[in-house]
């Protein structure tokens, strides 16, 4: 293979593997934040390419809101059994039981915002100095300015004005005690790149990414999976529709789109023609235009 023949997917892959190995080399106790979504599943594949036949030099960490899609949880457990790596689960329910967060009430109640507290506690407990995440710069405007190595203070906060310049392929992972670094190996990938890579590598995904029949209700103009955690009442009309999910998050804030795309080629076609960017399907970003910037400052992924 000549350099000229190298495609952009090869280049993105090589860069992501490079970044994962920098994490292994530079940090004492890294962790990979695993959400069960396609981006973190892609990270797992990249980690296999970076470290096999050795073990991953980090555990996987999943923050479980307790309102995950059951399909995601069973996918996660099957995957962990297959790759033979360590999984640490932080439960939002524990944070609620300990009184550290208060569960929201009402129809639009969601545990999505609560998981920041659970995440920070899990990081502190595991003494993790680097957390690898699957965020991409194309997701949202605030993320376009995110570094590959993004330093957070001891409160998990991100300060856009104190981000370190990143020159060439040199990543400065030096931190003070209590600080940690969020690392984003697929920063330079777009949603379409991830899907093309999943197709090329035959990566298995949770079934909810593919079109299926499901009971849904309409909330704030968006289709939501009918589930107890949505605090449904008699106003909510349950309908049976053919849908799929473009992201895999908490059931209370992840909207479905109507779709017949049950094969990866169809999904890629659908995305190309699509007029809704990925985060548009997450209700919490609708709250304000600056929502992501505020959450990043507060320690969200």
């Amino acid at each position: 293979m000549n350099k000229q023949d190298t495609t952009y997917l090869d280049q993105l892959e090589a860069e992501a593997i490079f970044i994962l190995r920098e994490v292994a080399g530079q940090f004492e106790k890294p962790a990979l934040l695993f959400s069960g979504g396609k981006d973190s599943i892609t990270l797992v594949r990249l980690a296999e390419k970076a470290f096999r036949p050795g073990k991953f030099p980090f555990p996987l960490v999943h923050i479980d809101t307790g309102h995950n899609f059951p399909e995601t949880i069973s996918f996660r457990d099957d995957m962990i059994a297959r790759i033979g790596e360590k999984l640490i689960i932080g439960h939002v329910q524990d944070s609620i039981d300990q009184g550290k967060v208060i569960e929201q009430t009402g129809k639009n109640a969601s545990r999505n915002a609560l998981q920041t507290v659970t995440l920070l506690d899990t990081i502190a407990e595991g003494k993790f100095d680097a957390c690898i995440g699957g965020a991409r710069r194309d997701e949202e405007k605030a993320r376009a300015k995110e570094r590959i190595f993004s330093v957070r203070d001891e409160f998990g906060q991100w300060d856009p004005k104190r981000q370190r310049p990143e020159l060439w392929n040199i990543y400065n992972g030096k931190i003070h005690k209590g600080e940690n670094v969020r690392v984003f190996p697929i920063s330079n990938w777009t949603e379409l790149d991830v899907w093309n890579y999943i197709r090329r590598e035959n990566i298995e995904l949770p079934s909810i990414y593919f079109a299926h029949e499901r009971d849904v209700i309409t909330r704030n103009g968006q289709l939501m999976a009918a589930a107890d955690c949505l605090n449904m009442d008699s106003d909510d009309q349950i309908e049976r529709r053919n849908v799929r999910f473009r992201t895999v998050g908490d059931m209370t804030c992840t909207a479905a789109v109507e779709s017949d795309a049950d094969q990866i080629d169809d999904i890629i076609e659908e995305i190309k023609m699509s007029k809704i960017s990925e985060r548009g399907a997450r209700m919490d970003d609708k709250v304000s235009e600056a929502a992501m910037e505020d959450r990043k400052k507060g320690g969200y992924f």
């Binding site: 090589a14 593997i17 490079f18 292994a24 080399g25 036949p53 376009a144 310049p165 060439w168 023609m273």
Partner: protein
Amino acid sequence: MIKYLRLQWKTAKKGGIFNMDLLKFFTAGSVDDGKSTLIGRLLYDSESILADQLEALQQSNRKNDDGTIDLAILTDGLKAEREQGITIDVAYKYFQTDKRKFIIADTPGHIQYTRNMVTGASNSDLAIILVDARNGVVEQTVRHSFIVSLLELKHVVVCINKMDMVDFSEDAFNKIHKSYSEIALKLKLKEVTYIPVSALKGDNIVNRSQNMSWYAGKSLLDHLETTEVNEDVKSVQARMPVQWVIRPQTDELHDYRGYAGRVLSGSFRVNDKITVLPSGIRSEISKIETNMQEQDEVHSGTSVTLHLKDNIDIGRGDILVNSTHEPIVSQSIEADLCWMDTKPLDTSIMYLLQHNSKVTKCKIRDILHKVNINTLEKIETDTFQLNDIGRIVIRTAEPLAFDLYQVNKLNGGAILIDPRTNLTVGALMFRASAE
């Protein structure tokens, strides 16, 4: 436009995109030059804006004088910036056409953010320098061009923007072309392309302009899609810094010892004679793996795992190179420095120097000069303030195995870290051994 997009979708279908490569470029220019509008126009006209982003755009109060959407909004992200109406950091943007995938490092042009421009330039293959057709070559044009030459970007596109404001005049274009040529000559910029554009109106951005029939060249996007940007580092200069050693230590793989890293430059083949630096120990490559598959050879840019015939003590910070073309090994280096911290350079303290996977202590032994980046004059100085650029001599605690930046960027660049704050405070471009 619609026709163009259909073509894009058609050719992008089912695997066609796998043949595409990647172009990273950065844009230099001030807010007033219409830089954000230019990027907004590229994204907008190549249909890289999605519906909800477009909706947010349309709901925004910012409109151009003629009532059209202000495309600059697409690139300035943070709340703080929106309030101040300026871009304060490097923002990365992505788009693709049927020919290429593009990564744009959008860097601000204000003088206080020289460091961000250096950062953006270090991660780019090509630079777009914007010149306002009404004002021509100004002080900041020189500044931006100096940074482009300092970072050794081989491909420069001078976009002479706001041509609509000068009646699409060929004379105005020629005058700026001529005065920029003098700068290019002075800074030894090799490949410079001049394109007259109107980012606001879309002339010569995606499509050839109807208003400038005198211009025979390509549109900006056409140029970006077709220009060749392969690094011309000699393929014999094989370099691979070791990031990590893979040692499963299982019964089955008891003797497995793989050196994991990314090939910086050149190619490695099985049986190649290699040298481990800085120790100087020699060996031969016994096996090459990528993605757990054996390969006969690997080329620059690839993340690989190399195996050697001899059992040598090698770890992170070492670099494997081909023995026929070894790099310089030295502890005293003359380098260009761009200072990136608000706290000035302190020649009395030790800094950390990070060069690929190697981190070593270092001291600034001598400051040779700094450069007035507006006039290119060399000035005597005893310190560097934020955004200062100049030449220094550095002494490292451990020997470094490096190439000169002008020959091999990735093995010739390094960063300085302040051990008190852990911040990245300087960018170094190695120019000569000072031993």
